[in-house]
Structure formats: C-alpha cells, structure tokens
Symmetry: C2
Subunit: 224 residues, 2 copies
C-alpha cells in the first residue's frame, strides 16, 4: 500500500527488525486498532522472541507516531482524530506538491511514456478503487516522486502514508470512486508536458486536499 512497500518486504536481519515489521504490518492492516494496548510479552511470544527486541521496536514506532508510549503504562496504538487526519492531508499536500514541482524539470520522454502507460492501465483496471487500480495509482505517484530525486522527501511522504493507511484502506474498501481522480491525473500529465512545475504542484495539492473530506467522513468508524 505504501510507495516503498517493496523495501518493507525485505527479510529482517535482527529480531528487533522482525518485531518492527510485524507490528507495522499489524498496524497497517488494522489488526491492532487505535487505543489497543500492545503487550510486549504477548507479541514476543507470537513471533518467538523475548520482550527486549519488541520494546525497541516500540521506540521506533513511537518516533514515527504509530504508537504512544507512556512511562510505566505501556504501549497503545495511536489513533488519528478527525483534525489530525486533516492535518496529515495538509502536510501531505505540500510535501507531495513539492515532490511534483521538483519532478517536472527532470521529466524526460521515457518517464513521460511510463506515466502515460500507467494512466492507461489505471483506465483499463476499470473501477476506481479496485485492487489493480490502487496498485497502478500508487505506481503512478511513486514514479513521479522518484523523479524528484529527493530521497528524504520521499521517505517522509511514505511515513505519512503508513500513518494514514488504515483510514485509506477503509476508504478504498467502501467508497466507489473519487470521480475527479481521472481528470486530475490527466491535468497533472498535461502540466508535466508543458513543463509547468508550479501548476503541477497546485494540481497535486488540490488532488490530495480534495480527498481529505471524503476520507475523514468514511474513516470515522476507525477512529478511537
């Protein structure tokens, strides 16, 4: 579901890494819900290790905002309030807008063809929100962000996607389609073709902020 999901599939080289990936997957797939307590001993038993590596994984997840860690009171799954969902979308809009703006001048004919091909495949995937459409949609955005050539920016964007993935999942499962998606992607392509970085930035910001209200509405059952 995330743009760098491939990199998350690598086999862990330490127990801490394994615990981290295990917990992150659980969080992304909504196996653990906001407010749930994560008990180190339980999780350690589930993946066959002691509590220590699990505790260390908690620290990383806490730093990424996926869980909350209170001294002597354990680890609970962090949930986003409606306000925080909006806030995350606002932050996404400027970060992904920046990525697009930086990508425009680096666009070449090959990359442009790749983009158009993905758009075609999204079209043929049929229903917006279908499994295949979602994958192509991700590839479409990932390709643009990669073009920006800014690894830390991409990392930050990806971290935000992990945080909101449970809410996105709910949305993709239940919402038929964001009707404007196709048109917005085509406008984006056109801005790329014209080399208009600022316009592409603006389209991306609108593209992201436009989905926020939809998401917030449908995400409510997941809220804490």
């Amino acid at each position: 579901m995330t743009f760098l999901s491939a990199s998350l599939e690598q086999s862990p080289s330490t127990a801490e890494e394994e615990a981290y990936l295990y917990l992150q997957r659980g969080l992304r797939l909504c196996r653990y819900k906001p407010g749930d307590r994560l008990i180190p001993e339980e999780i350690a038993a589930e993946i066959g290790m002691s509590r220590m590596p699990v505790r260390e994984a908690f620290r990383r997840l806490a730093a990424e905002g996926l869980v909350t860690l209170r001294p002597n009171r354990g680890c609970i799954v962090a949930g986003l309030t409606l306000d925080e969902i909006y806030e995350t979308f606002e932050i996404r809009s400027v970060l992904e807008g920046l990525a697009v703006r930086l990508a425009v001048p680096k666009m070449d004919a090959d990359a442009f063809l790749d983009l158009e091909r993905l758009l075609d495949r999204m079209e043929r995937a049929g229903q917006t929100g279908s499994s295949d459409w979602v994958v192509r949609h991700q590839e479409f955005h990932a390709l643009i962000y990669t073009l920006s050539g800014r690894p830390n920016l991409i990392r930050k964007i990806n971290a935000l996607h992990v945080v909101i993935e449970p809410y996105m999942r709910f949305w993709f499962d239940y919402v038929d389609k964001p009707l404007s998606a196709r048109e917005e992607h085509e406008r984006l392509i056109r801005a790329f073709a014209q080399g208009d970085a600022l316009h592409a930035d603006q389209i991306m910001q609108e593209h992201i902020l436009g989905t926020a209200p939809l998401l917030a509405e449908f995400a409510s059952p997941v809220r804490r």
Copy 2:
C-alpha cells in the same frame, strides 16, 4: 535553539528518556560529529546506567534521522551531505510556508502586537546573529507556527530544526548577518496585516530557501 526547546528541558522520568535527551543535546551542540561512533557502554557509563536504555534511545534518534543504526555494526552520528542540507531546506520551506498560511486567518490584534513587539526587540538586539537576536528570531517564528493550530505540523518542523541545528549553529557563530532577514520579516508582517495567506506563504518559502545557500557554504567544515 529549537522552537520547542522548552519542552525538551523537562526532567526525564525514565533512564531511556535521560539517555535520549543527553544524546540529543550532544548532537545538537556538536559534541558528537558526523561519522563518530556512539558506543553504548561508554555513554551508559557517562550517565550512570546500563547499555539497555541507551540502545533504546538510539532507536528513537535513528527514527528521527539523527543517527544511523546498522545491524551488528553499531550507531554512528548521521551527517548531512550538501544535497541533504538543501533537501532539508526545501522541505522546511513548504512545511513552514504551510504553517504561515494557516496562521494568517487566525491572526488577531493581540497576536499581531506580540509579533511587532518581537520584531522591535530583534531590532534593538542589534547585530543579526547575536545570541539575543537568535532567541527573539526563534520566538518570532514559534509564535507564527503556534498560531497555525497544527501540533503535528509544528512537531515536524521542530524535528527538522533539530537535524540542521549543528549547521545553523556554525552559521550563527561565523556569519555576520543575513542582510535580507529584517526586510523579509517586515514583508511577512505586512502580508499578515493584509490577511494575504498565499503571499505570506510565498515570503516564508523565499525566506527559508534564501538562507540555504549561505548555510550550505558555511556548513562545509561540519560535513562528514
């Protein structure tokens, strides 16, 4: 030095917290330099605890990008390449621009007076870059960001400031003054007065991106 530095001064309630704050201070004050190895046992001895809490602190610092953790090969201080410094400033520019944009409609007469008072005090502090000027400058920006009413956004901005602080410190120590700072602050105030959010956003972006080349030039000795 950071906008939320006050919140960092709280007394730690656990050993891990203490280790985290100790290491973060060491990193911000350049006591540890990029590429340096951080040896858990040494640090644990320095603050009188065992390696375990120090290791956990490493995880948090790694998630924040302040150190790099390689399996079985320890913890080294992360340095920023010239490209990464630029990238950080690009990210800062859009995030802080967003914060300003959101702050404009929330500006009231009181907040406006506070801003002008800080600008006055910066003026009277004399030399740009002096200790007092730096503090007022931070307060000035912090006040604006607080007005945005977006806690996670502020947290992210602050995290970026911690990352680049060693480079900023070098800059403030050796560079006389960014001549344009005063003029840019006044333009910002004017945009606030007119309620022009987009213009304020743009000014902030230029304000931040304008300092990047200066910083990158003077930061070179700190690079790894």
